[in-house]
């Protein structure tokens, strides 16, 4: 990887679009960090999650391209909507793309998948008790 930005503007736009879509679908906050870790990847990803505005309702995707490590961290409330097994499936999807060198494709697909898994179905007839 030569020196320079990690993503082109078009690639960044695609990732941001996937993040926005996941947020609209799930109502959670999604964040993606791509870069090296100062320490072990999991504690570093937890630190990043705690830096977010609302960590409890956030999902952080951390990718360390040099260390070839991926971490998905869900906050306390986000964990109720997005189970560890669903996060594991998304991690598997991203892992496959990353192994072929496709960072952008893996992030877009993975974040979309996380948003879909965290999707909350609308409550039907919640305000119409007489129809129940």
């Amino acid at each position: 990887m030569p020196a320079g930005d990690a993503f082109t503007p078009d690639q960044l736009y695609d990732i941001e679009k996937a993040v926005r879509h996941a947020e609209e679908t799930s109502g959670l906050h999604f964040s993606v960090y791509v870069g090296g870790a100062d320490s072990e990847t999991r504690p570093f990803a937890l630190e990043l999650l705690n830096e977010l505005d609302d960590p409890d309702r956030s999902v952080l995707v951390y990718v360390d391209p040099a260390g070839r490590r991926l971490e998905i961290v869900t906050g306390a409330i986000a964990k109720r909507q997005l189970s560890d097994s669903s996060a594991g499936l998304a991690a598997l999807t991203m892992q496959t793309s990353f192994a072929t060198g496709d960072l952008t494709g893996g992030l877009v697909t993975g974040v979309q998948q996380l948003g879909d898994h965290a999707h909350l179905p609308k409550l039907l007839h919640a305000n119409e008790p007489h129809k129940q």
């Binding site: 990887m1 030569p2 320079g4 930005d5 990690a6 993503f7 082109t8 960044l12 990732i15 941001e16 993040v19 906050h29 999604f30 964040s31 993606v32 960090y33 791509v34 870069g35 090296g36 320490s39 990847t41 999991r42 504690p43 990803a45 937890l46 630190e47 990043l48 999650l49 705690n50 830096e51 977010l52 505005d53 960590p55 409890d56 999902v59 391209p65 040099a66 260390g67 070839r68 490590r69 991926l70 971490e71 998905i72 961290v73 869900t74 306390a76 964990k79 997005l82 189970s83 560890d84 996060a87 998304a90 991690a91 598997l92 991203m94 892992q95 990353f98 192994a99 072929t100 060198g101």
Partner: protein
Amino acid sequence: MIAELSGHTLLVFVGIPVLVVAVVALLVFSSSIASGPRYRPGLSWWAPPVWINGPTATKPDPAHLPELPGAPGTTATAAGVARTTGGASASW
């Protein structure tokens, strides 16, 4: 012998092949130039960190917050803030 080569001969036997090679090389590398740098697993990563949809406001330093008591199922971060988290990990 070389001195007898005319400019026209040089143009035909050197200029045209060089031009052809340059055009082919441009065609081969144009797609990678247009798509930007590509990540290659196993090679070092030089790009600066990118945080998409990161924090928007400056938060208080967690080091100055009162430390919360730990509980089963919680994960203590380096900053001393305990928070129950979930998620998944993978490597490639």
